[in-house]
Symmetry: C2
């Protein structure tokens, strides 16, 4: 099972953008990411959870050097959504556990979240794929978090 996870990493180079109270109707995600793409800003994680009373939030992460420009690009297209708000977190820590077949190896996510919990690290965003589970935490918890994951998976960090 230790062969399943090949890498634990900390990425402290990104910022988070979150649009809240977006109308949950077709065309909203498209409008946002069209603006960001046309501005040439690279997007790493995109996270959207289910809506509540017709509204939902979309968060995404970008390189820190692009955050200010990204916020300008996004604000420009928010006009049709007067209730929506824009928030951001300039400094975030993204922890990733990478491997193969994470879906069928049911213990990996559990082990990652348990290691973070035991180190009192709070998970702010979660995003997953077959080969990577990522959790965003506060920047000041990044070092503790990656050490905790290293220990849990018996690996040294790659950054």
């Amino acid at each position: 099972e230790d062969i399943v996870v090949s890498e634990v990493s900390l990425d402290a180079s990104q910022s988070r953008v979150t649009l809240t109270r977006l109308p949950d109707v077709p065309g909203v995600a498209s409008r946002i990411f069209e603006a960001v793409a046309e501005g040439g800003v690279m997007v790493d994680m995109i996270v959207q959870n289910v809506s509540h009373h017709g509204h939902t939030n979309i968060s995404f992460t970008v390189p820190r050097e692009d955050i200010d420009r990204c916020l300008l690009l996004v604000r420009e297209v928010m006009e049709p959504w007067p209730e929506a708000e824009l928030q951001h977190d300039r400094q975030i820590a993204k922890l990733s556990v990478a491997g193969i077949g994470l879906r069928s190896h049911t213990g990996v996510g559990e082990r990652m979240f348990r290691a973070l919990a035991e180190s009192n690290v709070n998970v702010q965003l979660i995003n997953t794929s077959e080969i990577r589970i990522s959790a965003v935490v506060a920047i000041e918890q990044g070092e503790v978090a990656v050490k905790s994951l290293q220990q849990a998976f018996g690996l040294s960090a790659s950054r």
Copy 2:
């Protein structure tokens, strides 16, 4: 740029579980996924967005044949969180656009969301990685959605 995206797929075999109004404190994600893992249920997507007033939601997807058992497992561990609620969607359609280097190819996400929007498909959840962008939509929109993505990326669907 067409070389970047190698596959468009529709997965109509999963169900969604969402826990709402969870306290946003360490140990919550761990407790949930420990219960699911110990029950032997495979988890595909996990999505959590940022909290609001100390609460947040966690959604995840599982094979449809496991949904009932999964709900039982999760309910058992929700006792410490009296405000939390459990919802699910038995039938969801997960659309994925797969390729390489999706982070640096800023047009892929935009093209995917635009194709869905133009077909009036509403995006319920979004989850991303370097090699895959996934959007969950209502089951009845799955076919329209995958055809729209096939057309947008010039590929036939793989399922």
